[in-house]
């Protein structure tokens, strides 16, 4: 797993959901973070689009529900 990528994703999740950075790591899932609700999820995904300059597909959004899932998607892309 690309540590640098994990850090960038965790930074985004922490910032978008307004939760402390040290509470977010590779194992964090949407179930662990109260603010990671449906609206929070959209904001995380939009920020990922913006920061990595890519376009996410509608069908994919529900799968990106953890730091690890996001990192794997970015790594594969």
């Amino acid at each position: 797993m690309n540590d640098q990528l994990v850090d960038r994703v965790a930074d985004i999740v922490s910032r978008e959901l307004r939760v402390p950075r040290d509470s977010i790591d590779l194992s964090t899932t949407s179930a662990d973070v109260e603010n990671w609700d449906s609206l929070g999820h959209l904001q995380v995904c939009m920020a990922i689009e913006g920061e990595f300059g890519l376009t996410l597909e509608l069908d994919l959004l529900p799968e990106l529900d953890s730091v690890e899932a996001i990192v794997r998607h970015l790594d594969a892309g």
Binding site: Q43, M46, L58
Partner: protein, 540 residues
């Protein structure tokens, strides 16, 4: 400042961005889609006392082609701004989706989206013309630079009714922040321009007046177009100053004679052309114009000069100037005008700003060669005109109570609607004084508000441009005369000391007012200790 954001689509990504730009602003969001009810229902959040501004972000495709919705929204806006004159309402204009399956017929279709778009936008703009508490955020500012191709986000539209991608929200937050800064009178006031490489291309001292790049062709046109924008800004009430290391005579020649110059000597409120370092020049400009350095923006193509100012005078804004001349005009509009000089509307008093400051300097010149104040004032040929409860002066009066810091006894700030209320209420007399002399017309320069029921002077202030010419004495006489005419036996006035109005502390005492105690708390500006000293005068 508390904002309420309403939209017919999901704009939640704006929340973090707005707080990032303006940490002091407290932002609430209505439920998306719910835009008419909050504006017309007096029990909604928009009608609570602590809301300062309501922002209406309107999505065109959702608003238009939905029966009467666009007309209802316009009527709701009108109703809200009439009921809440103390709240700023910001509304975006709307864009119809030009790409319809009706193809070209969409534009010719009676009652089609294009016709609806034009009707809505015109209605909004006309409402803003008539209503001071309506501001318009033109949709073009949010879309045109970035382009729809980059902004439209079908993924997030279908996932959660978020129409646009993140850059749109960045743009939106940036413009809302600028617009609110304009509303709060936080815009800067002075643009200081370097000349060589900034106002024209090339170096005057080397290329000569005929050799500088300035014209209607090639790179010369870049500078001419930049000058056009600078003149537009100057016409809106911004003061223009020149700071240049050059021979003054050469510079004068270019400004007077170069046929392609659009910035003319009349546009310039103050000059620093010579060989002083620019930090000294700008500091002395601040003294000459009686304005704080935090009102200044400095443009210079030379990064060394910019660094010097940024280090020596950190309050001065020093934007990076593009090295490519073709980028100058667009950059100036976006990164200088919008960034530092945002304005919601141009008042008549803004147009003559430079003339007023220039006349000010000529007066100062006369003052320096005179020893006798009385004869100086006589030579100025001052004419004062007082007005009581003149509703045409409502905006200017409110603006003066907002902006005047130095000669301001009570330091109470009033919004236009509060002034309007006092003007129409017999209990109050809102007195303004207009000043003219042989150098020009300064317009309204002083305001006093008399509360006849409380027998109190609740506001007394004077523009710093006319301090020292006995205007304050005449204004005080006028207030006392009015109070006597209304049968008041005595008057009080609470002087509130701040960091900037200390020099007027003796003014009332010098005119036979006596201290009669201290008030518990003043109108607390936060900049001074906020405590008040009560003065009293018997009029009998």
């Amino acid at each position: 400042m508390k904002l309420l954001v309403l939209s017919n689509v999901n704009v939640s990504p704006l929340r973090e961005r707005l707080s990032g730009y303006q940490p002091g602003h407290n932002v609430d969001f209505g439920d998306y889609g719910d835009i008419v009810r909050p504006l017309v229902d007096p029990s909604s959040a928009a009608y609570t006392d602590d809301v300062d501004a309501v922002v209406l972000l309107l999505d065109g495709p959702e608003l238009l082609g939905a029966g009467d919705l666009a007309r209802e929204v316009l009527a709701a806006i009108e109703r809200f701004v009439t009921a809440r004159r103390d709240v700023l309402l910001v509304a975006t204009t709307v864009r119809a989706d030009a790409e319809s399956s009706l193809t070209y017929a969409a534009a010719t279709q009676p009652g089609g989206q294009l016709a609806e778009e034009l009707a809505f936008n015109l209605g909004l703009v006309e409402l803003a013309h008539q209503t001071p508490n309506v501001a318009v955020l033109d949709a073009g500012l949010l879309f045109d630079r970035l382009g729809l191709e980059r902004l439209v986000s079908p993924t997030f539209w279908y996932a959660g009714r978020i129409r646009y991608a993140t850059p749109w929200f960045d743009e939106c937050a940036r413009h809302l922040t600028g617009l609110l800064a304009a509303y709060l009178n936080q815009a800067r006031k002075v643009l200081v321009c370097d000349l060589d490489g900034t106002l024209w291309g090339g170096i005057l001292g080397e290329d000569g007046p005929g050799g500088i790049l300035l014209g209607e062709d090639g790179a010369g046109k870049c500078y001419r177009d930049l000058q056009r924008e600078i003149v537009t800004l100057q016409n809106s009430g911004v003061l223009l100053a020149v700071a240049s290391k050059n021979e003054p005579a050469e510079v004068e020649r270019v400004f007077a004679d170069h046929p392609m110059m659009l910035v003319r000597p009349d546009h310039v409120a103050a000059w620093r052309v010579g060989w002083d370092d620019k930090a000294t020049s700008i500091a002395s400009l601040a003294a000459e114009l009686s304005l704080g350095l935090d009102s200044f923006v400095f443009l210079d193509d030379n990064p060394v000069e910019r660094m010097l100012i940024a280090e020596a005078l950190p309050e001065v804004a020093v934007p990076d100037v593009p090295t490519r001349p073709e980028l100058l005009p667009g950059w100036f509009v976006r990164d200088v005008a919008f960034a530092y000089f945002p304005k919601l509307r141009i008042l008549e008093s803004d147009r003559g700003k430079t003339d007023q400051y220039r006349a000010q300097r000529e007066r100062a010149h006369v003052q320096a060669s005179e020893f006798d104040l009385a004869s100086f004032l006589e030579r100025l040929d001052i004419r004062l005109t007082f007005a009581v409860d003149d509703e045409l002066l409502t905006e200017r009066t409110a603006q003066m109570t907002q902006k005047t810091n130095q000669f301001n006894l009570t330091v109470r700030r009033f919004a236009p609607h509060e002034i309007a209320d006092m003007i129409s209420d017999d209990r109050y007399a809102v007195v303004t004084v207009r000043y003219e002399d042989r150098f020009g017309d300064e317009g309204v320069v002083g305001v006093a508000i008399l509360d006849t029921q409380g027998a109190e002077v609740t506001a007394f202030l004077l523009s710093c441009r006319v301090i020292g010419r006995n205007v304050e004495v005449a204004l005080l006489d006028e207030v006392e005369r009015l109070a006597t005419a209304r049968g008041l036996p005595a008057l009080t006035c609470t002087y509130v000391r701040t960091e900037r109005n200390g020099f007027v502390s003796a003014f009332l005492a010098e005119h036979d007012w006596h201290t009669s105690g201290a008030s518990g708390e003043g109108a607390g500006e936060g900049s001074g200790d906020g405590s008040g000293m009560i003065f009293r005068k018997d009029l009998a």
